[in-house]
């Protein structure tokens, strides 16, 4: 499967943590949404892009030992749900850390990293990961 257009389409959001804000109710979203699930039709034409600060704290985490095919060379890896300072939860890996250093509540910031290599095409895909704020 060639994923070139598919991953290019999302690259801006994945590289810079760009979500959306509903200017009808003020809710912020990441990943970006075309429609606000609270305002629905009222939000049409009122959704605008919002770049997140990239800071947040660990809401929950795990160490993955049995993973998906494209990630098998990264095992075991730390995966976390990050409560961003803007509000929404974001799911991603925590890198450059030992699992024993990660706690619920630890401060983190976003970093751009290589996520995985696409099997047949060999294309390297990039996106956000998180590092601990020391």
């Amino acid at each position: 499967m060639s994923d070139v257009p598919r991953f290019w389409r999302e690259s801006n959001h994945r590289y810079r943590l760009v979500g959306t804000k509903c200017n009808n109710c003020g809710s912020t979203f990441f990943p970006p949404r075309d429609v606000c699930p609270k305002c629905r039709r009222e939000s049409i034409g009122k959704m605008e892009e919002l770049e997140f600060s990239g800071y947040g704290e660990v809401y929950s985490y795990t160490v993955v030992h049995d993973g998906l095919e494209p990630f098998k060379f990264q095992l075991p890896y730390i995966l976390a749900m990050i409560k961003t300072d803007e509000g929404p939860l974001v799911t991603g890996q925590i890198v450059d850390a030992d699992p024993s250093e990660v706690k619920i509540g630890s401060r983190v910031r976003v970093t751009l990293r290589r996520i995985r290599e696409e099997g047949k095409t060999g294309i390297i895909q990039y996106g956000y990961k998180f590092i601990l704020e020391k």
């Binding site: 985490y61 995966l79 749900m81 939860l89």
Partner: protein
């Protein structure tokens, strides 16, 4: 809406069935169901087939036509439709078939579910199972179903709502029941220490917290035809069937441990059945992961009561709240498309009084819950005998 009854059930054994293809499995289950119903293929007006990912597991789409063909129905040319809703495909197919018969469009329908998962290596299978999650914002970053379940567990422990031993109890119960069911993927009993000490899938979850990858097929015959119902032994009524959905990604939900789709669908199913949850004699829950099984009990009974049920070991077939008497997804197996249909097979056996060793005495109502992914789709079904 007309009354609809289950008049026949059939299932294959679940497990790693390397000598059987998808079409072998589907045909075996379907023919067992119509034989059990005492009917002929000519009596069947339509076929509803549940399958989650045959396109990825065995490079085969167009499953509806394939299973009608394999079951020898091609000359009859009856309608055959595939339903996909992730791992809730079985429950969703049952729901659609129920509506079709209740509405009067069809009198008698076969609903089958099938999945052939062990033809690909396990890491490939995990990726396909992850197809029920959000490909762009979860799995792209290395998320697996197990990792989401693990993060829910970690958060709940952090908030002091439960201990590791509480959810580790769920697979212990499922294995006990599975040991008494001859079609189970696993027939061994396990202890709490086995769950805690097994190798990690995603910390804190071990392989014993997670349902296996299984092959298997199950089928039921449902009907509103009075003659067929009266001539069948112990017909079981589909009392209600409700579906609800939630945000696809776990991180988008109002809370990562509120199974809102299950909350809504089970509430509606009990309301339309006009029974209280105390009237439910048996629960068949979607224990794809131990913690997810416990969350369902928390949604139904509240936090305190759910913990009491687990800590007082009340979930066994001979106790106050029999749960997953089949062996659940954990021990009976989880061939995605077949899973929700097998829940109805188990409930029918129980309500007929034909569940053998694991029979719950005098069971009148069973609540089934079949879930897609980690709760983005929930199908709640009430089956009963009056």
């Amino acid at each position: 809406m007309r009354d609809v009854y289950i008049i026949g059930v059939g299932t294959t054994k679940f497990g790693e069935l390397w000598d059987k293809s998808l079409r072998d499995l589907a045909t075996e289950a379907g023919l067992k169901a119509i034989t059990d119903a005492g009917i002929y293929s000519e009596d069947v007006n339509a076929l509803y087939g549940a399958n989650t990912s045959a396109g990825q597991f065995i490079d085969q789409e167009h499953i509806a036509s394939l299973i009608a063909d394999a079951a020898g129905l091609s000359e009859l040319g009856i309608p055959s439709i595939r339903i996909e809703a992730g791992s809730a495909s079985g429950g969703a197919a049952l729901h659609e078939a129920y509506l079709a018969v209740a509405s009067g469009k069809y009198d008698t329908v076969v609903v089958g579910g099938v999945e052939k998962m062990t033809d690909v290596p396990p890491e490939e299978a995990n990726k396909i199972v992850g197809g029920s999650l959000d490909a762009e914002w979860e799995t792209f970053f290395g998320v697996t179903e197990a990792s989401l379940a693990a993060m829910i567990a970690k958060r709940l422990e952090y908030e002091g709502k439960m201990k590791r031993e509480d959810y580790a109890h769920i697979p212990v119960v499922s294995h006990k029941h599975g040991s008494m069911n001859e079609t189970s993927h696993f027939r061994n009993s396990i202890k709490l220490e086995d769950v805690l000490k097994a190798s990690y899938v995603a910390q804190p979850l071990t392989i014993f917290d997670c349902a296996p990858l299984s092959d298997g097929a199950s089928a039921i015959v449902i009907s509103s035809n009075r003659q067929l119902i009266n001539s069948s032994e112990n017909p079981v009524k589909i009392v209600s069937s409700e579906i609800s959905t939630d945000y696809l990604s776990l991180h988008d939900r109002t809370s990562i441990y509120s199974l809102n789709a299950f909350k809504r669908s089970s509430k509606k199913a009990l309301e339309s059945a006009k029974i209280s949850k105390e009237k439910v004699d048996i629960l068949e829950l979607h224990d794809s992961y131990s913690i997810i099984g416990l969350l369902q009990l928390m949604e139904l009974y509240g936090e305190k009561e759910a913990m009491n049920l687990v800590r007082n070991e009340e979930l066994y077939w001979d106790k106050s709240r029999p749960t997953n008497t089949s062996g659940g997804l954990k021990a009976h197996g989880n061939p995605l498309g077949a899973t929700g249909i097998y829940q109805a097979v188990e409930a029918t056996l129980q309500l007929r009084g034909k569940a053998g060793q694991r029979q719950v005495k005098g069971a009148k109502y069973v609540l089934l819950h079949n879930m897609g992914g980690i709760g983005a789709t929930s199908v709640s079904t009430v089956l009963g005998v009056e």
